[in-house]
């Protein structure tokens, strides 16, 4: 038998991704607040010339939070918890350690190049797939490195069974690989225009309705495999570990996993209701979206029932607060999405502010809270110091919760108002309102959204400060905490 006396988990790669999560979180969400303000106050579009316009900054916001903040967060938590549930240290394999570090640095350089390319206006013009082909190639390489890293670690594991979180990480790896490759099939315009186009600018290999279908199959499943699947992986580890309670039902976690895999991939066509895609496909998109409630709530209820008999922890431990409210926001978001995908509701909701409202109660409440909770749980174990301040986590929690509630309520009201105004006709069948009438009516809600963004972003800064203080100057810990993370008042 191998001696484990001096063996410890190696968090060097997890730490690097933790720093990147904080950096990209601040960058991406600051740009988000700025563009929210630009919608309310259009003169803010002219602060930085062409680099400060809404059209230039919107993809910077979405891509920085998705591929910067979130992907870093996924990898930070992956490199932390995969070792623990597989019971093997990365320090046991020099090769995997090298791959892990290469994975981070290639990703980090690629992500910075991606942000710069979007600021320069280099874009393939497909939503959430704006990166041009050289960046796409870097992303594919980064993804392959993650695959080598993950399956390499699985190959040398001590624990035979893969814990449910690993199932979700593997699904993330496979899902995004498939989606990204197919949706980013593109050709530089230079080659399709007889030499007058550009090498740097490309067009999709699909056209018209087919392009739209592939795009939304990708777009919706990017939500599935970046914003849902790996976040469930985090929750299934961090909630039991922080609370000291095993998952309420392991079988339910397995059922929900396969249910989610089975249903999610079919729901993307709900983005194309009342468009030129075949009618049966639109209907199937709606039906599958409604069925999606079952596996989503299966996971969420499993998470909440994990706290059965231990609800007192909710008042005592702010990390549990983040994890439980995150799960609750997951329930809210996964009931709201199916409602929006029903054809008659979609007729009002589509293209309105209700859609970003829905997205943000999911990403701010579910994705954001889970990531913050995960990193806060990891910090004392990675840096061997207690968390700097419990009060700051409480402050962050309440500022951000208020921000989220303000955001989605404002967007619900704005969206439904917008949808109703667009459809309103007088007794002769003429439209009652022009577009600018809706803009005037929605202005107060856009101001509220900006305020909500400021509140949430303040929470991110508080989180960053708390993490930095934890890393540098908190009280050192003699031994690793078993469950509840130690924190100074």
């Amino acid at each position: 038998m191998q001696s484990n006396a001096a063996l410890e988990y190696d968090y060097s790669v997890a730490k690097l991704f933790t720093y990147a999560t904080i950096l990209f979180g601040i960058l991406g969400m600051s740009v988000g607040v700025l563009i929210a303000a630009q919608l309310a106050f259009p003169e803010l579009n002219y602060l930085f010339g062409e680099y400060g316009t809404f059209s230039r900054l919107r993809p910077v916001h979405t891509n920085t939070v998705i591929f910067g903040f979130m992907i870093s967060g996924i990898w930070a938590t992956y490199y932390y918890l995969s070792q623990r549930v597989l019971k093997v240290s990365m320090a046991e394999s020099k090769f995997l350690m090298f791959i892990g570090k290469l994975h981070f640095w290639l990703y980090f350089v690629g992500a910075l190049a991606a942000v710069v390319s979007l600021l320069l206006g280099i874009s393939a013009s497909k939503e959430y797939a704006e990166f041009e082909w050289p960046i796409d190639i870097v992303i594919v390489l980064v993804w392959v490195l993650w695959g080598i890293s993950m399956f390499g670690l699985i190959g040398i594991r001590r624990e035979k069974s893969l814990y449910i979180s690993m199932w979700y990480f593997i699904a993330t790896f496979l899902g995004v690989a498939m989606l990204y490759l197919f949706n980013n099939m593109e050709v530089p315009t230079y080659f399709v225009s007889g030499g007058i186009g550009s090498i740097m600018n490309s067009v999709s290999m699909y056209s018209g309705t087919n392009d739209a279908l592939v795009q939304w199959w990708y777009g919706h499943n990017a939500v599935a495999f970046v914003f849902t699947v790996p976040i469930i992986a985090m929750n299934y580890y961090f909630l039991p570990k922080e609370s000291g309670q095993a998952i309420y039902s392991y079988k339910l976690s397995l059922l929900s996993f396969w249910g989610l895999m089975f249903v999610y991939l079919w729901a993307g066509s709900h983005h194309l209701i009342y468009s030129t895609v075949p009618d049966w496909m639109q209907t199937m998109g709606s039906i599958f979206s409604v069925i999606l409630i079952l596996p989503s709530w299966g996971s969420a209820i499993n998470m909440l029932l994990t706290m059965k008999g231990e609800w007192n922890q909710l008042t005592e431990n702010p990390i549990i607060k983040l994890l439980v409210l995150g799960s609750t926001f997951y329930m809210l978001s996964t009931i709201e999405g199916p409602i929006q995908s029903i054809k008659s509701v979609n007729a009002i909701a589509h293209f309105t502010d209700w859609i970003p409202g829905h997205v943000h109660d999911g990403v701010l409440g579910w994705v954001g809270f889970m990531t913050f909770a995960g990193l806060l749980h990891m910090a004392p174990r990675m840096f061997k110091r207690e968390i700097h301040s419990k009060k700051l986590i409480e402050l962050q929690f309440w500022l951000q919760t208020t921000g989220i509630v303000l955001y989605f309520t404002a967007m619900w009201i704005a969206g439904i108002t917008q949808g109703m105004m667009w459809r309103a006709v007088d007794e002769y069948g003429n439209l009652m309102y022009s577009f600018i009438d809706t803009v005037a009516a929605l202005h107060p809600y856009w101001v509220i959204r900006t305020l909500a963004g400021v509140l949430y972003l303040s929470g991110v800064f508080i989180f960053a400060y708390n993490m930095i203080k934890t890393m540098t100057s908190s009280k050192e810990l003699a031994q690793e905490p078993k469950n509840q993370s130690p924190m100074a008042a």
């Binding site: 623990r84 001590r158 624990e159 035979k160 580890y237 570990k241 095993a246 998952i247 089975f262």
Partner: protein
């Protein structure tokens, strides 16, 4: 005459039905194998709770074990 779009539609419905049968089959399999005492799925929940590097695995990886033995 059936066109390609209809074929795609029917193919998707048939595939959905097949996948539903597989999914329900899996659920039955999970509960049956636990009822018969062949598997205990709930024990895997402990993997997250007892996750020190020195902890005893819930199920030891036999491949790794054999390899290490073989190396000796």
């Amino acid at each position: 005459m059936i066109n390609l779009v209809e074929v795609q539609g029917y193919a998707r419905i048939i595939m959905t039905i097949v996948l539903v049968i597989i999914l329900y089959g899996y659920i039955l399999h999970l509960y049956r194998s636990e009822k018969k005492g062949e598997r205990d799925y709930e024990k895997y929940g402990k993997i997250a709770l007892d996750d020190d590097i020195t902890s005893t695995p819930v199920e030891k990886n036999p491949n790794l074990h054999q390899k290490k033995e073989g190396e000796k």
